[in-house]
Amino acid sequence: MRRGHCLALVVDPTRPPLEVLQSIIDNAAAVIFIKHEDGRYLLVNRRFEELFHVSRREILGKADRDLFSKEQADVLRANDLRVLREDRPIELDEAVTQDDGLHQYISLKFPLHDPQGHGYALCGISTDVTQRKRESDELRRSHSLLEATLESTADGILVVDRAGNIVRFNRRFATIWSIPEHVLASNDDNAALAFVLDQLAEPDLFLDRVRELYGQPEASSFDVVTFRNGRVLERYSQPQRAGGEVVGRVWSFRDVTDRVRAEEHRDRLLAGERRARAEAEEAVRVRDEFLSVASHELRTPLASLSLAMQGLEHGLETMEPSRVRWAIGLAARQVKRLGQLVDTLLDVSRIHAGKLEIHREDVDLAAIARDVATQFADEAARHKTTISVDGDASVVGSWDGFRLEQIVTNLVSNALKFGEGRPVSLSLTTDGTTARLVVRDRGVGIRPEVRSRLFERFSRGVSARHYGGLGLGLYITRVLVEAHGGRIDVTSEPGEGSSFIVELPVASKP
């Protein structure tokens, strides 16, 4: 509908058109005025009268300088002259002082022409934008604050809408996720997401959590995101609300890799320290137990020796010569036992210092086995049993005879000690490459759980409450066998005895 028709419908032809116009402009919220080209007011509306406390009668013939300060009046006049000069409507920012201070206006000013087309006057429609401008300034400040905060935080921030589309992110977000410029510039959410997922150790878990939260728009979240390269981010999220309604979600990513690595490093150090302390405590306990056992082992022959010597000293004058010889034999046996104990301790010391030496020569293991069996005949008799040697009559190899005797001695001594008075047998065989010695007893046997540590230092297959000994015999035996390039093993059934199997290469390795 055209404006002309509209006016034709509402204008009463009996009334002068100026009154109708005055009525319309009086009811407008804007300030409306007409000024002559020389600056005098020709017409103002009611809003003008109210704001500037002047009636339309009083204003007629007056100019801006009569109403406003000189500075304000000069600006208004300059604007008016510009409109007349350029002869076109112009929108202008203007400021005038009112009762409650300075007000900002946007004024649309346009020239009015006489029938000859001369701009003799101008009309102005001024809208008070003071409040709107104040709000707009406030909004600008808030926005600037938000921008500054967003960019100065150490966290990567990502804002998405309810559908998960990217709304905003800060530079830190792009840095943390190493998203290249071209991906950022493309505004392609899927490309950015693909770039993110590609770096993650568990991308599915990451997506599951995101999807879960789309279903719970009100929820906050916290979880930890691990990169394939070991970096660790903490991920927080909060719903973004506008007018009480959730419109999206703000994700915040904090790089905690350094902290997590420091914590892991600290945990590793602590665990290492605890392990080292436990090992040190165990070493001290083993050493104390060993010293206690060693002391006991040394004191027993020492006690027999001491009592035999003191008894001899006391009764030498009156004792039968056979009794004296018996006591001297007892004492000599203790000296030998003490010597063997000291040798054992020295061997351990040598092994520990890596100074155990093997002097190879042609040695007959079968002959050594027979010798040891003979040496232990008395001991076997004390245990009310016997030692037998069978198999090949001669088993010759390149070995250290002294150390081989020690190996056989240790095994036979153990077999008697744990043999419960039942026969001990030694068996020797060779296939020309490897010599094999089996020392078998039919005694207490060895529980499977202690078999693996049987050949370790200070280890014993049975309680120290029942059987003495340094707990070094099988350790030294194993070291001696291995020094010859051989191996030692044991088979056993508790209650049925044990078989110790020694295998030695006949020729020494070059």
Partner: protein
Amino acid sequence: MSRVVCIIDDDKDIRDAIRFVLEMEGFEVCEAADGAEGLARMREDRRIGLVLLDLMMPKMSGWEFRKRQLEDPELASVPVCVLSGGARVADDAAALAADHYIVKPADRMDLLQTVRRALLCDEDA
């Protein structure tokens, strides 16, 4: 007054050495190689007035022997002297409620004094 001493020790040499010293002084000695044998000796010979007890023995240890001895009213009152080379002989003797203890290597005079005191025949002591 008993002059019979029972030595319970798995080491034949130490039994021989103690017997050597005690018999020279006129004590009667019997031997056992472990706790179980010791209990058997005590039941066989009620004249035993003192047990010299080693702790570390196969089959039945000195600890087990002492427990069984105290459980048996016939044997419980026989005094026991712990004989050990361990580092904690005094603690072990106290834990076993033993009347006496001797630390190996034993001195002949200490041994005799302890035996005489235990048998209440303070001839030299």
